[in-house]
Subunit: 186 residues, 2 copies
């Protein structure tokens, strides 16, 4: 994980790629760190789903790098032992979750506030817990409020294609809370 | 949540539906509680992904009920505050994860050990944190080793259709560990 992380950091230092910050709460990812008007149920102790599992290395360990000009996002991801599905293997739902997080982040960078409208994942090879993966996501095209994205999930050494995915995200009106819009579920 | 849970328990008491047990570790869900030969990396402290978030009500709160004759599974689900995506709303990846868990459980009951080959979720209406949902999943058909399933995610009162999903699961050779098979990612 560290070796691949250093490689991506070096790539970011060269200019075209930017390491994205990661916060434990969803609102911190929004412009200015504020909630849109009418956000429901945000007074209590909430946690961004991908940062909800306690313990270093136990859950979703990841770092995202954005290339805005190419509308492309790389996500280095290591599933911890609390993401288990079959014994010793990563749960399909955990893979769907990190893909949704990566593609949503890419769509946000390209089109502003978005929500998932469709996510489809083809699982091609099981992912052992602790494996180091590289998600390569990109916005393929924009049509009105729709952002179409694709993602490949490979072993970090590039040898194995573990999953392929597509995502459709809908751009929201930034002055409204997503709960007031139709569609979307992120 | 309790009211809907009691309704499903009463339905189970009537005979056709069975409340399924839930364990914190994946291997406990397999026949005899044992791992297949060759299971990698299962010696340490692992946790089933859907049971990985600590704290009552913080993560995935759910109960599953199976109707084996109808090849149908109902899953009562309440997303806790640690499943946040947009402020106050459930992360799309968390919805994909519970759908994968529910359809995988249904496929397991119908066809034995399975892995996810494809999961596709249409997000139709945002899900506030703390909402009570009812997932209605069923195995539509079996073709060789393939199990085709569908799922509707509605508010527990039935008024709102929040998501629709399809799943394709592949039946595995029960004597092999899933990591030794092609495809699949659960």
């Amino acid at each position: 994980m560290r070796r691949h992380y250093r490689r991506l950091l070096a790539m970011a230092a060269a200019g075209a790629w930017a390491r994205l910050p990661s916060y434990p709460r969803a609102r911190q990812h929004l412009p200015g760190g504020r909630c849109p008007a009418g956000a429901p149920g945000t007074a209590g102790d909430t946690r961004l789903f991908l940062r909800a599992i306690e313990g270093a290395g136990a859950g979703f360990e990841y770092a995202m790098f954005l290339n805005a000009a190419e509308r492309r996002l790389l996500c280095l991801f290591q599933p911890g032992p609390y993401l288990e599905g079959h014994p010793g293997l990563t749960h399909g739902g955990a893979i769907a979750a990190i893909v949704d997080g990566a593609l949503g982040t890419c769509a946000l960078a390209v089109a502003g506030t978005v929500m998932t409208a469709n996510l489809s994942v083809d699982y091609l090879a099981p992912v052992p817990l602790g494996a180091v993966l590289l998600l390569d996501g990109r916005a393929e095209r924009l049509e009105g409020r729709k952002v179409f994205l694709s993602c490949h999930v490979r072993s970090a050494d590039g040898d194995t294609l573990h999953a392929r995915a597509t995502g459709l995200f809908i751009r929201l009106d930034p002055t409204k809370h997503p709960a007031q819009e139709e569609g979307g579920g992120r």
